[in-house]
């Protein structure tokens, strides 16, 4: 008679984390909320495909990543042509002095946006969402060695852009 945790409740409780993941992947907060919403809609439609007892967070993150891949490449090419000015602004700024976390978020998102997609996704999954290498490899369907080398390149490039 004890109610079990429903799929819906779990998904709702996961919304903050899904939004964070979306911010890691997206160019700006508005895109991140659109991506989160699309992910939730897709997850609800595909709920039959989720196997109870497996991790809902990995499953939902995989859905989000696939949706992002579907749209990101075309859009980022377009955006880079239209808005090249922003890129130079990141370089050489003192990154952390007296900076509010939400202000820094914008800066980190802009820096992440300059990483190639395949580096960006491993940086987000492992360094922001805290997944292990193996979990990330399974989610992205690539060998662990690939995850590991993309992560090296991604975090090194990120550090060069933002300082530490």
């Amino acid at each position: 008679m004890v109610p079990t945790i429903s799929f819906d409740s779990e998904l709702v409780a996961m919304l903050p984390r899904l939004r964070r993941f979306a911010h890691g992947l997206s160019r700006n907060p508005a895109d991140a909320d659109d991506l989160t919403q699309a992910t939730v809609e897709r997850a609800l439609r595909s709920r039959e495909q989720w196997q109870p007892g497996t991790r809902l967070d990995s499953w939902a993150c995989r859905i989000m990543r696939n949706l992002w891949i579907d749209t990101a490449r075309a859009r980022s090419r377009k955006d880079k042509v239209e808005a090249p000015a922003e890129e130079g602004e990141l370089v050489g700024e003192d990154p952390t002095s007296g900076m509010d976390a939400s202000v820094d978020l914008g800066r980190m998102m802009a820096a992440m946006d300059r990483l190639p997609d395949e580096q960006r996704e491993v940086v987000v999954l492992i360094l922001i969402e805290g997944f292990g290498y193996r979990e990330a490899a399974e989610m992205l369907d690539v060998p662990i060695g690939t995850v590991s080398s993309r992560l090296v390149r991604g975090r090194t490039a990120l550090l060069e852009m933002v300082g530490a």
């Binding site: 939004r19 939400s102 978020l105």
Partner: protein, 233 residues
Amino acid sequence: MVTEEVFFAWLDGELEADEAERVAAEVESDEKLALRAEEHRALQRRLATAFGSVLSDPLPEALLAAARPEPEVVDLAAARRERQSRWSGVPQWAAIAATLAIGVFAGTMVPHRNDDPVRIDGGKVYAAASLDRALTTQLASAPAGDTRIGLTFRDQDGAMCRTFTQPAASGLACRDNQRWRLRGFLAAPEVQAGTYRMAGGMDPNLANLVGTAMAGEPFDAAQEKAARDKGWR
């Protein structure tokens, strides 16, 4: 000589104990590597803080609406049949009584889904129903129902926090205006040998949350009971 891949795998806690020890020794004896480790730890902290700010944002209404499309429509007849079949081993009068009680319960409560263990209010997620009761009344030493309480502690703002485990999920809830606000609610990990680094049976993501939230030490049994008796203030 440590390759870049191995260096970062070490930094991310991905190496087996003996290899991790070897890399740690090498990093310690190499000034450049030590500095590099520090820079990358700082980068990771900065990412955690910047992107962590998203977690405490109120959730956009449109998103909540998308996640909660419509209240589930419950087929009362089917629900009754299911309840009855669960009672098939008990005397008939008990089964009838239970059916009546459930009929009343289902008729009045189901559209509001009052047994949902979480509830959303103003963009925040709170424990409700059985989860709320377990967090408020249960001690770690006395599990009851489907919920087990794990650690009890104060967070950095002084609020009482408790971890809990249910068959399909675990999480962290902290007091917020006399209610239990969920700080984390994680699906139970797939049990798969070697895939997860478990800390004392706790989901590593939950352990991570606890580590970030906790100020001081977790409560012992006496402190836990005293805190409950004082109403978790």
